[in-house]
């Protein structure tokens, strides 16, 4: 099972689906950011799996995974700073109470 590319890709698809559900359904802004991290990890897993089974792509896949990790770190920094900045004004981390952004 660990010798087939499909097993890794199916696992990546399941993780991406879980992250999608969390991003769409959670009310807490930080839980939404955590779900985004799960989805980014699913993408990384798919890239690494393709690299592991294709000799020409192996080093490229590792590099793409490392670059995605750096971008994810930057995204987490800015996203959490925005959440903290909103929390200081609105006193809640729940996104459905940020209704004044609608207008």
């Amino acid at each position: 099972m660990s010798h087939s590319l499909d097993a890794y890709l199916v696992l990546s698809a399941l993780l991406f689906g879980i992250g999608t559900f969390g991003f769409l359904a959670r009310r807490n802004a930080i839980a939404m950011l955590m779900s985004i991290e799960l989805m980014l990890n699913a993408v990384n897993l798919a890239a690494v799996a393709f690299g592991a089974f294709t000799p020409e792509l192996q080093a490229h896949a590792a590099l793409i995974a490392l670059l995605v990790m750096a971008v994810a770190a930057a995204e987490a920094t800015v996203g959490l700073a925005i959440v903290i900045a909103i929390y200081r004004n609105r006193r809640t981390p729940l996104v459905d109470e940020y209704s004044s952004m609608r207008e």
């Binding site: 099972m1 660990s2 010798h3 499909d6 890709l9 199916v10 696992l11 990546s12 698809a13 399941l14 993780l15 991406f16 689906g17 879980i18 992250g19 999608t20 559900f21 969390g22 769409l24 359904a25 959670r26 807490n28 802004a29 930080i30 839980a31 950011l33 955590m34 991290e37 799960l38 990890n41 990384n44 897993l45 690494v48 592991a52 089974f53 294709t54 000799p55 792509l57 192996q58 080093a59 590792a62 590099l63 995974a65 490392l66 670059l67 990790m69 750096a70 770190a73 930057a74 995204e75 987490a76 920094t77 800015v78 959490l80 700073a81 959440v83 903290i84 900045a85 929390y87 200081r88």
Partner: protein, 215 residues
């Protein structure tokens, strides 16, 4: 001190898992995949968000193990350093800075969460169907073991990746500056004046000091 191999000379593993006749790496793959998916589901549905954050660390650790099984050792090391070491700690700090005093929520999900569930199941099923039904012509029969040297040669010799490396460096710098700017307390409009006392009246002073540390 004798090495442990001398004390336990005949502890070689049998080639297959006893009673199951699986290869050991298949068992390890299933174990790590189960841990990862269970932790991910707990992250998404958990009522207490601090526990969700800790479960996310467990999910990332299991994923690092899967990277090792796939032969990408350097990615696994970076996963442990960046995700478990840095991003999880950042998220846990942000959780603690934004905890409301009323304790865990009674309503974790939106009222439209069923639509999100349908969409997520649809995405996962579509991905799985397309993955299973596709023939990957370039894929080999089995995994390769990673060569870290080739990764380093590619990163610093290929012009495309050198540019990407510089862009990521600029991006990380911008993210640090932006994070500090967004999370810092805004001062009064006049920079010469010290912070006026009216600010203290608008906000409670205890919660005001905390987010500055988080930047």
């Amino acid at each position: 001190m004798t090495p442990p191999g001398a004390l336990l000379p005949d502890l070689a593993l049998p080639p297959f898992v006893p009673f199951l006749n699986w290869a050991w790496d298949d068992l390890l793959f299933l174990l790590l995949a189960g841990i990862m998916l269970a932790a991910a589901i707990f992250v998404v549905v958990g009522r207490n968000i601090v526990r969700s954050g800790v479960a996310m660390m467990l999910c990332f650790a299991a994923l690092a193990g899967i990277y090792v099984l796939a032969g990408a050792v350097i990615v696994a090391a970076a996963q442990v350093l960046i995700y478990i070491g840095a991003i999880s700690i950042l998220i846990l700090f942000a959780i603690m800075l934004t905890q409301s005093k009323s304790g865990p929520l009674t309503l974790v999900f939106h009222r439209q969460a069923w639509a999100g569930l349908l969409a997520a199941i649809g995405v996962a099923v579509l991905l799985i169907i397309s993955v299973v039904n596709t023939v990957w012509p370039l894929a080999g029969e089995d995994r390769l073991w990673s060569a870290t040297t080739s990764v380093a040669m590619l990163l610093f010799n290929d012009a495309l990746y050198v540019i990407a490396l510089q862009v990521v460096a600029v991006l990380l710098t911008a993210a640090v500056v932006g994070g500090v700017f967004l999370a810092k307390r805004e001062d009064s409009n006049d920079p010469g004046e010290p912070a006026p006392a009216t600010l203290e009246r608008v906000r409670p002073p205890v919660s005001e000091a905390a987010p500055v540390e988080s930047a």
